[in-house]
Amino acid sequence: MKQPTISLKNVVKYFEDTQVVKNLNLDIREGEFFTLLGPSGCGKTTTLRLIAGFEILTEGKIFLEGIDVSAKKPNERSVNTVFQNYALFPHMNVEENIAFGLVEKKVKKAEIKQKVAEMLKLVQLEGMEKRMPSQMSGGQKQRVAIARALANDPKVLLLDEPLGALDLKLRKQMQLELKHLQKNLGVTFVFVTHDQEEALAMSDRIGVMNNGVLEQIGTPQEIYNQPVTKFVADFIGETNLLDASVEKVSAGEIYVKMEFGHACLKATGFFQNEMVYICVRPENLKITAGDTPNFHIYGKVKEHVFIGSVSKTVVELANGQEIKLTTPQMENLYPVGAIVNIYWKDDHGVILRTREEQVYTMIENTMRAPGGSDEG
């Protein structure tokens, strides 16, 4: 296997008495678009700042192309950062901003000029060399910040919520542009965001963080379709979570019992009477009036909401829990008040352990095992 571009080993970071990053292990591969995703305060920005060298590790080690950089200063690491607020030097024009790193490297003037022109072309800001940052829009500043970082030919580009300050439309456009830029240049990107849609749209792999812990690492599809913890299931997209217990285990199939019903899922490694969560995406749920062989979850249709391409149906279970499901069209809807049975294709439901320590063991196991779920 190829050496990872960035490798974090047992990384721990404390701010005074608060543990912000808890024993983080992570390998980021060459040329991939890796996203650290999580709610604010989950430690994702701190992790990025640790890689950049702005924060000092409390414990653990960080390797850049196999070399331990834990003790290196930010200016000694061949990574560059795109800051959330762009952090363009206000006393320098666009050209001087982009050339900043090259001047530090004592690159020849003619070469700098050429490189700046090349970078401006890359971010589509040709002819803006003499503009001051204060004369530019947010989107333009963003591009300058990216050009300034990329001008140094970094091994890794670190991006700290770079699109956070842009309006929605520009944001969507920049997402695509960044993605294309990354693919064309082949530079490893480490992208931090709290926007799960953004993460799903842009990343090769995503690391979902919560409370300083990496809960899951995987491709967007894996993260979405096979979440390994309740947090991941809940944080990414919309989902229905049902409390259940394992009733019967048979070859590759598990029968679970809920407060109001029972279901069958494809899964292994669970034990009888174990408390679990069942997690099913709204688009994978179906309803029918009668019984199905393996499902018996009855509820009452509460409402239909038409939202354009699909319609949303809310079914209320006897215990008051609302189950959300989406159907492609408005046709064949059960009337409000109808009693319906909820079912899904048996591999569409994900079964999750409830006890946290077991979840963590599972993550560690999958991460250690070659060919585990962290392999794309």
């Binding site: 930010p74 560059n80 006393h91």
Partner: protein
């Protein structure tokens, strides 16, 4: 302003008191000085109401030019020293944890509560031949003969810097404290060492503070006369002493007035320069 609207008072009521104040305490005295500067001195003191530009002509005499040159040199030295000491001082305070900053700023402000003549007098007891420092050094056997510190040009400079240092630290602190930390991180990230970051980012961005500090030390130091008298022994003449002497001992009011106006003119030019630089900074 919105919500609770105040009744709109007529302009003359709003500006009246300020105007009156300026008229009585600034304009009338200033015009008085201008008037005196164009009159003739009376040999027995006081002034004769006869028009003359003699005092302005004497501004260009060699002796006066020399005094002015010397004054500017002292002020420049004072301003530069205040910057050299004040910048690191302000930088350290601005980078302290927030809770400590206010105490250190308070320490800087504290001397303002004591009259500056008294504080300068305090320095003389330290620097005198038989003063605290000499006594201490003699007792410890570090020196065998008391050092001649007071009544030297060096002592004057020391007093000036001491007196004006807070005026340098405060504007410098204000501009350093405003610095966006992410800009410094960006510089480090782009390969600049700490020293290079200072040179290329921190210092240029704190230039408004440096300008303000220079002016706030340079301008007042031109007029400070009692420091050179108390600490320098009054043996070296500066423009401040010169003006004072014209009014109190030499009894040449027109010349004193002309010198004062010259000083005011210099100040105005410097202030104009400063606002120009300020405008340039705003544009950046």
């Amino acid at each position: 302003m919105k919500g609770k609207s105040r009744p709109d008072l007529p302009l003359y009521v709003m500006l009246g008191p300020t105007f009156l104040w300026l008229l009585i305490f600034v304009m009338i005295p200033l015009f008085n000085v201008i008037e005196i500067s164009f009159l003739t001195k009376n040999p027995s003191g006081g002034i004769d109401f006869r028009f003359s530009v003699e005092s302005y002509a004497s501004l260009f005499k060699r002796d006066f030019m020399l005094i002015m040159y010397r004054s500017f040199a002292l002020s420049l030295q004072t301003a530069v020293l205040c910057l050299l000491i004040g910048y690191p001082f302000a930088y350290v305070i601005a980078n302290m944890p927030r809770d400590y900053r206010k105490y250190f700023l308070l320490f800087i402000m504290l001397p303002f509560w004591i009259n500056s003549v008294i504080r300068i007098y305090g320095w003389t007891t330290l620097l005198r031949m038989e003063g605290v420092i000499n006594t201490l050094l003699l007792t410890l056997g570090i020196i065998s003969k008391p050092l001649e510190m007071l009544y030297t040009d060096g002592a004057t400079l020391l007093g000036m810097v001491y007196e004006l240092l807070p005026f340098a630290v405060l504007p410098l602190y204000a501009s350093i404290e405003k610095l966006d930390v992410s800009l410094l991180e960006a510089a480090r990230d782009l390969g600049a060492t700490k020293a290079r970051t200072f040179l290329r980012v921190i210092f240029p961005l704190t230039m408004p503070g440096v300008f303000a500090a220079s002016l706030q030390t340079f301008i007042p130091s031109l007029g400070l006369f009692y420091i050179s008298e108390m600490m320098g022994g009054g043996s070296t003449m500066y423009i401040g002493n010169l003006i004072k002497n014209q009014f109190l001992s030499a009894r040449n009011w027109p010349l004193g007035a002309a010198l004062s106006l010259f000083l005011i003119l210099i100040t105005l030019i410097l202030l104009k320069l400063y606002t120009k630089v300020g405008k340039l900074e705003d544009m950046a």
